[in-house]
């Protein structure tokens, strides 16, 4: 008990030192932030003397992770959007019509006339002239169905087709609806992310929440309305004829052409015709798939007018490349292999499965796939955030000093030990917060202040116990040993129960509540560590040096 071997001592101090080192950058917040920004800028090629100077503000060998400041501290905007996933069903079904028509047309002898009827949203009602041929029609349209490539929807196809009298009814299958919902939300998420990244704000949070919601938090933006405007702008996706390929960004493209960089081949530029053949607005679907040789590819489908334009262009330009351009960057420039008449095509290239998935997402990401309803929006002005930080700083400092003084008054030298542990404790909380990249919110600061108050609890338990054991006059060494031994179960039980509530808060809570739960939970871990190991080690070291005959706690 009283013997703590060397390696254990070293380990304890090393852990403390690590905690302090990790927390250190937060004491120089602005400076480290500038340093980090400059490093990123230099990596991206902006190697200016100014950036070099900023990068040198903080030594590279020191940790440079910072605690993220939450919206309530930094100011910014918060949006919770619900993706109207049903919007997509309608456009999908509308786009099916030309395909169905083209399929049934050769069968006119059996099915008679084909007429599109007014259909409820998300379904397609087609009346055929000869009800006798319904089975044939259903079978033919069923051939258009494509298998779904998801885990849950394995083995099912994307549409269901049934006949009712002379009415052919086509709907999306439930499995496809589910898959489509998921795609729609992922796609919306991707677009929102691209939109916001383009604006270049710091550390935006863009998360999917639940099945159909997206949480967007952008620090430093003026208002939620501004954020909505950014998200609302649609991406510009075009298909352009390629004139040439080169490495010089500044060469003369020629009249009616422009030069655009390639998105993934560094230093490669394409000269393309400015007028697009088709734009992304006419794309109704893009999905990862495989070509005849089993290589990853992306299949896509245009709406009626897009299909016609695309069909004509591909027929006339077999063998020449065309560029898929997104926001003035060339995503890929495949060579047209054959005439693509039906408005659906396939993009092959040296894709991995992941790349083809991403490309499909990007292609679909041209425009928001469905409307967004904003369920929650919050704007917090930077002034309020700064006020909160200032107030939080003062409050934490005063709380700290009050507790420190109180502990020394109550426990004398042992109080000083507890105080050193308390300071290390708070440093370690900040160190851990920085390490895991947690976000500090206002309730989070309250959690830290509460931890300051409660962190001494474990020490108080031990010290009170030592006092009691001293009364039975077994000598100071034995009293300290027993004090730690007997207080341990109370310390553990008390902290585990509080930790349970912190975990529940974390899993159930959102936003500010989560921030609070994180600091509270980390505070419990560090305070138990400092009380059980650090304070004890200090007492033992002091005891070894002084060898007092009696102690006063």
């Amino acid at each position: 008990m009283f013997q703590i071997n060397l390696w254990r001592r070293v380990l304890i101090w090393l852990l403390c030192l690590t905690g302090v080192a990790l927390a250190l950058p937060n004491a120089f917040y602005t400076r480290v932030e500038q340093h980090n920004d400059a490093i990123v800028a230099i990596e991206q090629g902006a190697d200016t003397p100014e950036n070099q100077r900023l990068a040198e503000l903080w030594p590279n060998w020191l940790p440079s992770d910072l605690v993220n400041l939450g919206l309530d501290l930094r100011g910014g905007a918060h949006l919770l959007a619900e993706v109207q996933v049903r919007d997509v069903y309608e456009s999908r079904m509308e786009a099916m019509w030309p395909e169905i028509r083209d399929t049934l047309r050769p069968l006119r002898d059996t099915v008679g006339t084909i007429r599109l009827q007014k259909s409820p949203p998300g379904t397609l009602h087609v009346r055929i002239g000869d009800a006798e041929g319904m089975n044939r029609a259903v079978a033919a349209v069923k051939d258009l169905a494509r298998p779904i490539q998801t885990l849950t929807g394995a083995g099912s196809t994307d549409i269901t087709v049934r006949g009712q009298g002379d009415m052919l009814i086509v709907t999306l299958s439930d499995a496809e609806k589910q898959a489509s919902d998921d795609r729609t939300v992922r796609q919306a998420l991707e677009i929102v992310r691209r939109r916001i990244d383009e604006v270049g704000t710091r550390e935006p949070t863009i998360q999917r929440q639940g099945s159909d919601r997206i949480l967007i938090q952008v620090p430093g933006i003026g208002s939620a309305a501004e954020l909505k405007e950014i998200i609302g702008t649609t991406a510009q996706l075009t298909f352009n004829p390629v004139v040439g390929r080169g490495t010089d960004a500044n060469s003369n493209p020629g009249l009616g052409n422009k030069i655009l960089p390639s998105i993934d081949e560094n230093g490669v530029y394409y000269t393309i015709e400015s007028a697009p053949v088709v734009t992304g607005e006419e794309l109704v679907d893009a999905q990862p798939s495989f070509d005849q040789n089993g290589r990853p590819a992306v299949s896509f489908r245009f709406n009626t007018s897009g299909a016609r334009k695309f069909g004509n262009y591909t027929a006339e330009n077999i063998g020449s490349p065309f560029a898929i351009v997104l926001d003035d960057e060339v995503i890929s420039a495949p060579v047209i292999q054959s005439h693509i008449p039906g408005g659906s095509g396939i993009i092959t290239g040296n894709f991995t499965v992941e790349e083809s998935t991403n490309l499909a997402v990007l292609l679909r990401a041209g425009a928001l796939p469905a409307g967004l309803d904003f369920l929650e929006e919050r704007t917090i002005g930077p002034e309020l955030g700064q006020d909160s930080i200032d107030a939080g700083k003062i409050a934490t400092l005063v709380a700290f000093v009050a507790v420190l003084v109180f502990m020394v008054l109550s426990y004398g030298l042992f109080g000083v030990f507890a105080n050193v542990a308390l300071i290390l404790n708070v440093a370690m909380i900040f160190g851990l917060l920085s390490l895991i990249g947690a976000t500090l919110t206002l309730p989070g600061i309250a959690g830290i202040v509460l931890t300051v108050g409660m962190a001494v609890d474990a020490n108080v338990l031990v010290f009170e116990r030592i006092r009691e054991e001293l009364k039975s006059a077994r000598g100071p060494v034995r009293a300290i040993e027993l004090g730690y031994e007997r207080a341990l179960s109370a310390i553990l039980d008390a902290n585990i129960t509080t930790f349970i509530t912190a975990v529940i808060l974390f899993t159930m809570g959102s936003g500010p509540v989560r921030g609070f739960a994180v600091t509270l939970g980390l505070g419990i871990l560090t305070s138990v560590f400092t009380a059980i190991f650090v304070t004890r080690l200090m007492i033992v070291m002091w005891f070894e040096r002084r060898r007092p005959k009696t102690i006063e706690v």
Partner: protein, 322 residues
């Protein structure tokens, strides 16, 4: 000389007046429930949807003028209150405007906010909108469900943990003390109508954690003393355990309160309600762990001999001959 809030050795008989404590708690609980029924909680927009706008202006806040300006917009229930904080200077006048969720609108409309901001600008041209927060009724309904679930789950988890570590009587005592604390906290929030929002739920759960912390420390000592003094009546063992841990109970409450009070006075008005809930919870929690949790254990009785199977159930005199 050491500062001692509690003498080294105390021998207060906590159960002599147990009827008084239970009586006081009973009356307070009843008051809390009555207040909750009669007035209800002043739910923030997190829980009932709507919009809050925090404004700041160099001119003094004229609540009547603000109200008159907003009345023309026909927004239903609008509440306007001035916010005071010692840190505000004379040219910093802050008000909170709260607008109910508009009928049949799941989402938040920017037009509404723009209209409100425009109307207020007419009254005070230099007004700034420091924060604007809107929550749709769809989300607020979910938030309140999750919040209640979180509190219930936390209590359930604690019940199970204490039951596993101690005996079921202790678990019941601990949880009753927690219910006591939570009900009283909700009571005070309904009585003085402080805004009840998501952060307050965090405070409630912290109170649960804190109160439990206190209760468990006392119980831990009871368990130890029950093993040590097998023949002492339960009431004496409980009393002795509370007395032995009293110094620690008070010390910890005081350090926590020191920290909380500094937050209350210096931490700004945004988290004042949150901190208030915690201060109240620490005080009530300390009281309940000393007076309520132990009384419940005394009522229920505890199996005394830990080495033999329990024959007579939970009677406190079950093992006098052990």
């Amino acid at each position: 000389m050491r500062l001692k809030l509690i003498p080294q050795e105390t021998s207060i008989d906590f159960f002599k007046l147990w009827k008084v404590w239970v009586g006081i708690s009973g009356v307070l609980l009843l008051l809390a429930l009555v207040s909750f029924m009669a007035r209800g909680l002043n739910y923030g927009i997190d829980f009932r949807g709507g919009t809050t706008i925090r404004t700041e202006s160099a001119q003094p806040v004229d609540v009547a003028a603000y109200r008159a300006a907003l009345d023309t917009l026909d927004l239903g229930d609008v509440s306007i209150s001035e916010v005071f904080d010692p840190s505000f200077g004379p040219d910093k006048n802050v008000a909170m405007v709260r607008i109910q969720a508009q009928d049949e609108q799941e989402a938040v409309t920017p037009e509404l906010i723009a209209a409100v901001e425009g109307a207020l600008l007419q009254v005070a041209p230099d007004i700034k909108f420091i924060s604007v927060e809107s929550v749709g009724p769809k989300v607020s309904g979910e938030l309140i469900k999750t919040a209640i679930l979180a509190v219930v789950l936390a209590m359930g988890a604690v019940l199970i943990y204490v039951w596993l570590r101690f005996e079921w009587q202790f678990a019941v005592g601990a949880v009753l003390a927690l219910v006591h604390d939570v009900v009283l906290t909700i009571g005070i929030f309904s009585e003085i109508q402080i805004r009840f929002d998501l952060a307050i739920i965090a405070a409630l759960l912290t109170i649960v954690g804190y109160s439990l912390n206190d209760t468990v420390v006392v119980f831990d000592r009871v368990r130890e003393n029950l093993r040590k003094y097998k023949k002492k009546p339960l009431s004496e063992v409980l009393n002795q355990s509370i007395n032995e841990t009293l110094s620690r109970t008070v010390m910890t409450s005081v350090t926590t309160l020191l920290a909380l009070f500094s937050l209350y006075f210096l931490g700004g008005d945004v988290i004042r309600g949150f901190v208030f809930a915690m201060i109240w919870g620490v005080i009530v929690g300390t009281y309940s762990s000393v007076f309520i949790a132990s009384t419940v254990v005394l009522w229920l009785g505890v199996k005394r001999d830990w080495s033999k199977p329990d024959k007579t159930g939970g009677n406190q005199f079950a093992n006098v001959d052990a």
